[in-house]
Each structure stands twice: as C-alpha cells, then as structure tokens.
C-alpha cells in the first residue's frame, strides 16, 4: 500500500521550493544551509 509520503522529511505544503534545502535522498532532514550569524545592528 505504499508509505505515508509525509514521513520522508519533506514539507510538501511548503510554499518555497524544496530543492534549495534538499540534503540527500537518504536523509529526512533538510540540508543545513550555512548558519547565518548576524551582528546586531547596534554593534556595527
């Protein structure tokens, strides 16, 4: 009967494209993009 495809770790209702954070066919975690550290503007 197949599997519940919502359990494969992809947010199928996302309004964004999935390919940007597609980590790998083997992982149900999105790819960790580069963590964006931001310096609070008051520190600049």
């Amino acid at each position: 009967l197949g599997i519940d495809l919502t359990t494969l770790g992809l947010n199928l209702n996302s309004s964004d494209n999935l390919h940007k954070t597609f980590g790998s066919p083997w992982s149900d975690e999105p790819a960790r993009g580069e963590p964006e550290y931001c310096i609070p503007s008051c520190y600049c």
């Binding site: 790998s24 083997w26 992982s27 963590p35 609070p40 520190y43």
Partner: protein
C-alpha cells in the same frame, strides 16, 4: 491473478550490452549499502573570507597566524580581563569561523551565558534571587555595546544589570 503481475519470474539474464545481470547488480548494491555517502563526504572545510577585511600595512602579516585555530590559545586568553574582551571581539567580529566557536566555548567555560534574544553574553554578578525551571532572576554583568546618550562616546563595555530575568528558553 487479475492484477499486479506475480513475483518476479526470477532467473538471471545473460549480460546484455555491458550491463550486468540482476543477481550481480543486487550483490553490488548490497555492498554499496554499507558504504553509503556520509554527510561529511559532502561537507567542505569552511574557508572564512572576511567580509570587511581591515586594510593593514603590507608589513603586517596578511594571513592569520595558525595559532588562532589552536584551542589552547583561547584558554589562555580567558585568564585576564583584556583577554575576555578579545574573546568577545572574536565572537562578534569573526563570525562563522572556528575561532568564533573557540571563543564561545571559552566564554562558556568562564560561566558566561549567551542570551539568544538579546545576542548578549551575561554572567551572574551574584547568586540569583529566584531560580526555577523557566528562568532565574538577579544581578548580572553583561557585555554590551554602549552609546552615550549624547552620542559623544560609544564602545564596548561590561555593565551591571539588576533585577534581570534570564529566561532559560533564550539560553543558547
């Protein structure tokens, strides 16, 4: 027998055109199953490119001294107040580098705690008056970028904050 075809009739086919037969392919696939690409196989060494490189005279070293990536160096920095400021400098101005990580780890070792909402490091100035599962409340030292009211002077400094509630869900 009305629907999907019964189990594969099995039987391995001869080689056709450089292709292998099904049994061979399955064996190779099983072997490959134990040598899957690992996440680290795709990870690149983070090469840090300064976004706002300070221009220095050519006589200055143009590349970072290797010691900067040595954890022991950062532990030594923590021993004096000037060193602590250096730790803060590395954390805020050397973002996305290994030294930022080392600086944060050293600050934590000296019981500084990072507040995710205020992006600020706090340290208990005395035992907190209230502590429970959600937060603690008391007087803290924190490292801040201060601008004088008249704008005359600004800079980094350590300040005291009394009656501050540090909610633990903001604790990095």
């Amino acid at each position: 027998d009305l629907g999907a075809i019964g189990d594969n009739l099995g039987g391995s086919a001869g080689n056709s055109g450089g292709m292998h037969d099904q049994i061979y392919n399955m064996q190779m696939l099983e072997a490959a199953f134990y040598k899957l690409p690992q996440p680290k196989d795709s990870e690149r060494v983070k090469s840090y490119v300064p976004r706002h490189p300070a221009v220095t005279p050519p006589s200055y070293p143009q590349t970072q001294a290797p010691i900067i990536d040595n954890p022991a160096f950062w532990e030594r920095l923590g021993f004096d107040p000037i060193g602590t400021d250096t730790l803060f400098f590395a954390f805020y101005y050397q973002q996305n580098t290994y030294q930022q990580y080392l600086a944060a780890r050293e600050l934590k070792r000296q019981s500084w705690r990072y507040h995710k909402k205020y992006n600020t490091w706090f340290q208990r100035h005395e035992e907190p008056k209230v502590t429970n599962d959600e937060y603690e409340k008391g007087t803290y030292v924190y490292f801040d970028f201060h601008i004088a009211d008249d704008g005359s002077q600004h800079g980094w400094c350590q300040r005291i904050k009394t009656e501050f509630t540090f909610e633990y869900n903001y604790l990095e």
